[in-house]
């Protein structure tokens, strides 16, 4: 369970979100510039609302406070058991594929690390990429390795910021299907930001609709995105 109460200003843009995410998988749906990435970065602890003015953030995960700006409290990003996969994979270019996935597993012994890396490569269907240099990976391949790197430490909360933008529809659906099985098994709550309605309908996730920095609706996809669904069906029918 993730509880969020965030007020943040970035230039003229105002983000104001107060909600509780109960579903294991929630899609944060909204057009570009609606505040999805800002919200995810605040949740990950990478972006802190100012401790003064009208900004504030209070975020908790399963009852544990991660951020409480009113009291100047914030757990550092690496200690939140939270992973964020952004649209740009940002794999460390000087490290191998395996070293990238292992980066967050320093606390584990060598044997466990090796097993975990193999498990992650299997999960994202990237066994064939092990021998490749990080710089040689395509956008979609790099996104899969970035996902493996983020999941390797087994976070409690996974934040996905349009992470499958470089994958084609079939590859994206296959990966989503694998994740839908794997994430609940390890009790990883997931929040996936997207502006693509097909991503929202590809899973059985709840959908949070974010418009102009405000949360407009939260519920099942076919209710929250009824209008988007009609639009997509009309396009298919008309095409």
């Amino acid at each position: 369970m993730v509880e969020i109460s965030v007020k943040a200003r970035r230039g003229s843009f105002q983000l104001e979100v107060e909600c509780v995410f109960l579903s294991e998988w929630t899609v944060l749906f909204g057009p570009s510039g609606s505040g999805k990435s800002t919200l995810l970065r605040i949740m990950a602890g990478l972006d802190q609302p100012a401790a003064h003015g009208d900004e504030q953030a209070r975020i908790s995960l399963d009852g544990q406070t991660l951020t409480d700006s009113a009291n100047g409290f914030a757990i550092s990003p690496g200690r939140r058991q939270t992973s964020l996969v952004a649209q740009q994979p940002s794999l460390f270019p000087h490290l191998s594929v395996v070293a990238n996935i292992e980066y967050g597993l320093r606390h584990l012994d060598r044997k466990t690390r090796k097993t975990r890396v193999e498990e992650m490569l299997e999960l994202v269907d990237a066994n064939a990429l092990v021998k490749r240099r990080t710089r040689e990976l395509s956008g979609g391949e790099a996104q899969r390795i970035a996902l493996a790197r983020a999941l390797a430490p087994r976070p409690r909360l996974l934040l996905l910021d349009e992470p499958f933008s470089a994958l084609d529809g079939a590859a994206s659906d296959a990966l989503l299907a694998r994740l839908e099985n794997w994430l609940p098994a390890y009790r990883v709550q997931t929040l996936m930001a997207t502006h693509d309605a097909t991503d929202a309908f590809a899973t059985h996730a709840a959908v949070a609709l974010l418009m102009d920095g405000k949360l407009e609706a939260l519920g099942p996809a076919n209710q929250v995105l009824a209008h988007e669904r009609q639009r997509l069906l009309a396009r298919i029918g008309g095409g």
Partner: protein, 221 residues
């Protein structure tokens, strides 16, 4: 050519460079990654030797490390001899004098590393030390090389600080720059030309190494 002075100069430059890299890498990492309100002040202090005349810096250090101050007396008691007019004193002076030549390329190089890499490492639990060693140093390795070569060369060419702090003691504080000065003072222009040629060649070689290592440098085309 005074080869004893040449060897002493290389020893001084190598020692200074090693100390500077050990000091400047964590300092630059702190300046780039840190959020302390003292960052601006520390960066300004680290840049001070750039604008301070070397003779002034040498004089300050001579007084500070001499028997007139508590610091100087404490060091003399600790080492059994004062730092002024010794090789160790020259190392201290050179490290302070060349500090900006190590810190500034490192800060520029570390700051140029994409924020997305730093964010990813933070999320994966990397602390500042790991962040610097596993991410910033390898990704900014050309800046580390530039910092090392600039520190080395700047120390080789040092004159004012060395003369004020170390004097001209053969085998202990007489460096090539002082030898060159002595040769010119004695109107021995032939020897001075040889000494200058060696220093010039060393500088050109080192500069060539820096540009060869830069992606847009000597290799382009």
């Amino acid at each position: 050519m005074d080869w004893q002075a040449f060897a002493l100069t290389l020893k001084l430059a190598a020692t200074t460079t090693a100390i500077l890299i050990a000091v400047a890498v964590p300092l630059a990492g702190w300046l780039v990654l840190g959020h302390s309100r003292w960052r601006g002040a520390v960066e300004a202090v680290a840049a001070l030797p750039l604008v301070l005349p070397p003779t002034v810096l040498g004089f300050f250090l001579l007084v500070l490390l001499g028997p007139r101050t508590m610091v100087g007396r404490f060091i003399a008691a600790l080492l059994g001899h004062p730092l002024a007019f010794s090789f160790s004193g020259l190392v201290v002076g050179s490290v302070i004098y060349s500090l900006p030549f190590a810190v500034q390329p490192l800060v520029a190089g570390f700051a140029a590393v994409e924020t997305a890499y730093v964010d990813a490492a933070r999320l994966l639990g990397a602390g500042p030390v790991r962040m610097v060693l596993s991410l910033l140093v390898p990704l900014a390795r050309r800046s580390v090389l530039a910092a090392a070569i600039l520190s080395f060369l700047h120390t080789v060419g040092e004159f004012g600080v060395v003369l004020m702090l170390g004097g001209d003691i053969p085998g202990a504080t007489r460096t090539v720059s002082i030898v060159l000065y002595n040769q010119v003072e004695n109107f021995d222009y032939t020897a001075a030309a040889q000494t200058s040629a060696v220093l010039f060649a060393l500088s050109v070689l080192a500069l060539g190494a820096i540009y060869a290592a830069r992606p847009g440098g000597a290799r382009r085309g």
